[in-house]
């Protein structure tokens, strides 16, 4: 299990869950944005200054800062 923030560009993974130590409000919002258990996520692109990063999840694209992406636990596809 690893963190979404560490997933390299172009890679796909499956969301395991939002980390337990994430702020409850952040955790809830990440789930409402689509980062729920079992959902596939892909790193689309990084900003020129490395942060934030665009992810593709539940058929749409959104960007998160590293601080938020560190709250999502993932399992990279074998």
């Amino acid at each position: 299990m690893s963190l979404l923030a560490d997933l390299p560009r172009g890679h796909r993974a499956t969301v395991v869950r939002v980390a337990d130590d994430a702020h409850p409000a952040t955790a809830r919002r990440l789930e409402d944005l689509g980062f729920t258990s079992g959902v596939e996520v892909e790193v689309v692109r990084r900003a020129p200054l490395r942060d934030p990063v665009i992810y593709r999840v539940k058929d749409y694209e959104l960007c998160l800062r590293r601080a938020q992406a560190q709250c999502v636990l993932i399992q990279e596809a074998a």
Partner: protein, 649 residues
């Protein structure tokens, strides 16, 4: 005007008991274009009581019945994580002071992001209010090889579902018919489950039943983003777009601004020609027409700015710009979206403050608003041109660059850097309480906005700019004109002081020198004396309070320049009239430097104060902004004076 928009909206919403329909949806789901299609240009904007969250309320007539339509702030969830989101949930639950829950809800969902959006739909359906789901962008879904059986979707959800393409107006008539029947809308037999994992399972079962096939990737978006978000090319294009943005705002608008100026000059001329009484002519021609002209002269520029923002927003480039700038803005504790607001403030702080509405966090909004007046707005430009002309020899060069241009660039840089620092400080103060909002931003596919939707967005902004500014600026200019021209002097009195009543320039100088404004200028002299300002400069600074650029004309008038618009020569020869420096030149390098810096920081714009009051829903924040900027202006001007005096002496 003081009643404020929201109270008006509330009265019509509750007092007359019209059916009240609330629009809910995620950002980019096409909610605003549906709201505009339903309510036309008659929407009222205001604030929810006590918070910096914009409220949009409009009316629509269907048959004989009128309905109140409320456009709730775009959201991804009904589980609030900030006080601003709490307000929206309070509206839905009827917990807002004196208001009941809306009678019915319209939920807009983007068909291309249905998998995510169903979570919000589930939360809305659990409210138990009559609900109709409006599916948008079905044309794009089909275009990207996706599929949705709308009838089956309706069956699966158990509530009415309608397909609407808001920006083309397709389906709006059917939506209106549906709204008229809101009392008969079905409620789901069983509300969707609340438990997160079960909600996902519910969503998947609904999608399967509705034969949903997710859209393929948007090819155009992928190709365009490969360039526009490329680490190198993306940055190049970004700076090119920004350059073009300013070129358009300043150069395309300039001739239009000249027309406005000429027109008002002509009107004032007519007044001077046809009204015999000098005093009435002055009040009407200089004060009232001058004041309104001072606002309208900025209209071409501001309309252009709003047009470009609406266009870039509609196409989807604004979220890309915010994505590229997020890291830079993070240094000031802000997020990428605040960049658009600060950028607009280069033209005028007012559109900048209005643009903070796109920021989801109230703390970010306030910090950005506090910083916006520091950006070098175009009203400062004539003042800088005059003062830099006094300070620096036009021939002076450093390498290939003229020193005048370098100083001007330095002033812009000073404004931008101070704005970032100010935002950082206000964000630090704001963040002491409460948790940090997580940052997230959807990247919508590039879409071709309809001409109508761009024009409507531009029209809304321009209209609220005019409504907010005209009154406050007209009142301030008239008040200042009265201060500068009262008390009245009879011809006998003028002659007694050796002034020929026929010489209008001499009379103007005498009137200004003996006006109430001059008395104020003398009164505040001890405060500004350390900066090297004499009472005449104080009068100029005071008159700049309505609009900064009037400083040039006022100084010209005070100095009795032959051409009040070009007072440089007359100002050079001005000396202190009294006090320890009597006879010495007034506009020395340290004094001019102090003035320049004072104008960079001081909040000399009543219109900005007025807009801040509107946007924050109270006097607290405009007063804080006025206080801190004026204090800062004094301190920084004193520093500038000291530094320049040390260097020069």
């Amino acid at each position: 005007m003081e009643a404020g928009c929201h109270s008006e909206g509330t009265r019509s919403a509750v007092g007359t008991a019209l059916p009240r329909i609330a629009l809910i949806g995620s950002p980019n789901a096409g909610k605003t274009s549906i709201f505009n299609a339903l309510t036309g240009m008659h929407a009222k904007t205001g604030n929810y009581p006590g918070v910096t969250v914009s409220r949009y309320i409009g009316n629509t007539r269907i048959g004989d019945q009128r309905y109140v339509i409320e456009d709730l702030p775009g959201t991804y969830s009904l589980e609030p994580i900030s006080p601003d989101e709490q307000v929206m949930v309070d509206v839905l639950h009827g917990r807002l002071d004196g208001e009941q829950s809306p009678d019915a809800l319209l939920v807009t969902v983007d068909a291309t992001t249905l998998r995510r959006s169903l979570r919000l739909v589930a939360q809305v359906l659990r409210l138990g209010l009559p609900t109709c789901v409006v599916v948008t962008f079905t044309d794009e879904l089909t275009g990207r090889q996706g599929h949705l059986d709308v009838e089956a979707f309706e069956q699966a959800l158990g509530v009415p579902v309608l397909r609407v393409i808001g920006n083309r107006g397709q389906g709006i008539d059917r939506l209106r018919d549906r709204i008229a029947q809101w009392r008969t809308w079905n409620l789901p037999a069983l509300p969707p489950p609340a438990e997160p994992a079960e909600t996902d399972a519910w969503a998947e079962s609904v999608l399967t039943f509705a034969a949903y096939r997710a859209p393929g990737r948007h090819r155009v978006t992928q190709r365009v983003d490969a360039v526009l978000l490329h680490p190198i090319w993306g940055s190049v294009v970004f700076f090119a777009v920004m350059m073009l943005f300013f070129q358009t705002v300043f150069t395309v608008a300039a001739p239009l601004q000249d027309y406005v100026e000429t027109f008002f000059g002509w009107l004032s001329g007519l007044v001077a020609e046809h009204i015999g009484n000098r005093w009435v002519a002055g009040l009407l021609g200089e004060a009232l027409l001058g004041g309104i002209g001072a606002v309208l002269v900025f209209v071409p520029q501001i309309v252009m700015l709003f047009l470009l923002i609406a266009l870039l927003e509609g196409v989807g480039y604004m979220s890309r710009a915010a994505f590229l700038m997020d890291r830079v803005m993070a240094r000031a504790g802000l997020e990428g979206r605040a960049f658009v607001a600060l950028l607009s403030s280069f033209a005028c702080a007012i559109p900048g403050i209005m643009a903070t509405r796109t920021l989801p966090s109230a703390k970010d909004r306030l910090a950005t608003m506090m910083a916006a007046p520091l950006m070098t707005c175009s009203a400062r430009l004539p003042v800088y041109v005059l003062l830099i002309g006094l300070l620096v020899d036009p021939q002076a060069r450093v390498g290939p660059f003229g020193v005048q241009g370098l100083v001007m660039f330095g002033m812009y840089l000073l404004g931008a850097v101070s704005a970032m620092v100010a935002a950082w400080v206000f964000k630090k103060i704001g963040d002491r309480r409460g948790a940090l909002m997580p940052f997230y931003m959807e990247m919508p596919p590039y879409r071709l906005p309809s001409v109508r939707s761009v024009l409507v967005a531009m029209g809304h902004s321009a209209k609220s700019f005019l409504r907010k500014c005209t009154t406050i600026i007209a009142v301030t200019t008239v008040a200042l004109w009265l201060l500068l021209n009262l008390p009245l002097h009879s011809d006998a009195e003028l002659r007694a002081h050796g002034v020929d009543p026929g010489d209008s320039a001499a009379v103007a100088t005498y009137v200004t020198d003996h006006s109430y404004a001059a008395a104020v200028g003398h009164f505040v002299a001890p405060v500004f004396e350390p900066l090297g300002f004499d009472w005449r400069i104080n009068v100029g600074v005071l008159s700049a309070q309505s609009a900064r650029e009037t400083f040039v004309a006022t100084l010209g008038q005070v100095a009795a320049a032959d051409d009040p618009e070009q007072p440089t020569q007359a100002l050079r020869s001005m000396t202190h009239t009294d006090g320890p420096h009597a006879g010495q030149a007034l506009f020395t390098a340290p004094t001019v430097a102090a003035l320049l810096v004072f104008f960079a920081f001081a909040m000399q714009c009543m219109a900005t104060i007025g807009v801040m009051r509107r946007e924050t829903g109270g006097w607290k924040w405009p007063m804080i902004a006025f206080g801190y900027l004026t204090g800062l202006a004094w301190v920084m001007a004193y520093l500038a004076r000291t530094v320049v005096a040390l260097l020069g002496g």
